[in-house]
Assembly symmetry: C2
Homo-oligomer: 339 residues x 2
């Protein structure tokens, strides 16, 4: 079970596009409508505005003190794309390729050899076992500083195979606007992702405006070491925490220590996080991004391998949670599509 999950999440993806810092249009804090400029008018957009106005207007029966305005966001498929694979898997494959020359013993392993030779199909067809090998080879046995340097190098150069965009450009402009809108109303925004915490933290500040300490994710174990007089954190090839499904509320509890009043996701892996946030004493907000846009992005839900949204779709309907119809609700998908 642990191994399965670890793949789904430490395991992450494929795609290619070019980069400018996320643009968020806004005027002043009081003109709410200006905030969500890439959202078409409709019930989804309106539900966000209604919630934020209710909990931030002093004197409102739903008013929430700023210190309790905690909002949590899934990452893959919610803040950036995740097809045809979690992007972190592509990072792992690219890493194995670039590290192969220094690890000649990998030639003796069928999977690692395939990854080193760029035979992605073969690696993926090997299933979980193969992906775990890729993760172990690319995400452990090095210091955290070395790993961070690798991630930084990759995130600033690697491009998605079909879009041609940098992976970090495949972020959702409308969600950037939600982050900005919430923060301007004194929310603290957190990422709570099944993805690797050490993989996300190097770039979330630049890309989403979310600092490393507000990122919760899956992790490997780590050890403090003194090596040649340097004090370092070594990344160990052993799972520490799986921040997915019922793990998400646990990750929120252990890392944040407060129940979010707003939670945003796109898959059944986010369902428990949305449920947890719905249990606040006061008003709360739950939202699913529904991938309905085969033309501008991808369309997938109940039967998808990546980002399966099945139970969540039913529960959202039953409980009146907001379900964003990407094709209808979003004027643009990526920042580069802004005028």
């Amino acid at each position: 079970m642990k191994i399965k999950l670890s793949i789904l999440l430490v395991g992450l993806a494929f795609l290619s596009w070019s980069c400018t810092p996320p643009a968020v249009e806004k005027t002043d804090v009081n003109s709410e409508v200006e905030y969500l400029a890439s959202w078409n008018e409709g019930p989804a957009k309106q539900s966000i505005i209604d919630f934020v106005e209710a909990v931030t207007t002093e004197g409102s029966p739903d008013y929430v003190k700023p210190e309790d305005r905690i909002a949590t966001f899934d990452n893959d498929g919610n803040l950036w794309a995740e097809q045809p694979f979690y992007f972190q898997v592509q990072f792992g494959l690219d890493q194995v390729k670039s590290m192969a020359a220094d690890n000649p013993e990998w030639r003796n392993d069928e999977i690692l050899k395939a990854a080193a030779d760029g035979d992605v199909e073969k690696v993926l067809s090997s299933g979980e076992e193969g992906l775990l090998k890729i993760i172990a080879a690319s995400h452990s046995g090095m210091t955290s500083d070395e790993f961070t340097a690798s991630v930084n190098s990759w995130i600033n150069s690697a491009k998605h195979p079909t879009t041609g965009l940098l992976y970090k450009e495949m972020i959702y402009q409308p969600m950037l606007e939600v982050l900005e809108y919430l923060r301007d109303h004194d929310f603290k925004t957190f990422i709570v992702s099944g993805g690797g915490i050490d993989f996300m933290r190097p770039w979330t500040q630049e890309v989403y405006g979310i600092p490393p300490e507000q990122v919760v994710g899956s992790s490997l174990k780590a050890e403090f070491k003194e090596i040649d007089g340097e004090y370092v954190i070594m990344k160990i090839a052993e799972l520490n925490f799986i921040d997915d499904k019922a793990g998400k509320p646990v990750g929120i509890h252990q890392n944040i220590g407060k129940r979010p009043i707003a939670a945003f996701g796109n898959s059944d892996g986010d369902l428990q996080m949305l449920q947890y946030s719905s249990g606040t004493k006061g008003r709360s907000f739950q939202m699913y991004v529904h991938h309905t846009d085969a033309e501008r992005e991808w369309a997938y839900d109940r039967d998808s391998h990546i980002g399966k949204l099945d139970k969540g779709l039913d529960e959202a309907a039953e409980k009146g949670w907001t379900v964003v119809d990407m094709a209808k609700d979003w004027k643009v998908i990526y920042p580069s599509q802004l005028d």
Copy 2:
């Protein structure tokens, strides 16, 4: 080993004093000297000021961007007192006593019966095994919300046996001033304590101005549950993480994701945290509070059961870290001693 550590840290303390919100004198951001008003002039105070000026003055060769100004503080013996026992141990004992009526089976256990009857000496003489029983009985088998309510009730009423102060009043006024001074210079202040994360988070905002999400500590495992239609976090009687010694840099890595440029502690349990922070690329600051004040507080170091400071004292001397002489450097100990 796990069991030993768990006692030392989830296990925490005894003492009694009365409460006003921490007062911190200051004028404006530029008049540094006004900030540390409860510090006597001397090398300790000066070293703090020199560091903060060096890393926050634009154009200084040691300048550090605000987002990298991470400062970590041990709690027991560094922000509040810890004698004759970690205060969290007293909380555990008090909890067992108040929960005993609802748990009649505890009468069959020698240790739990002793705790229920208020025979603290007997519990303590039972050593680690006894303390672990107290922690398990008082810190697990309940929801996180129930546990938080217990902590809140205790922290607002329990008094230290010899000082008569509330435990939350036995915080160090000079350290509150350091926290304030750093935050006013755009530092983000974190607690990194061997104490229980769920025990500290309910009151660190009020007492230290540190929000729950900036508290790192030891933890039990937790589980997400739906109980009678309510979504809750259950606290489990199994250790999750020991945030002490070499665990502190690991806790910092997993929870904060950045290396602190300033670290404050008082015992050998903090040594690795101070070492880790000393490994930043730029200028950094390490400080030990040395408990030298038998009259106003307690005097202890190399041979102490609680808060042992032995290796750390040597390493501080060797590396030129700041060592605060409580008796000499601090005008007052607790906020209630301010004029």
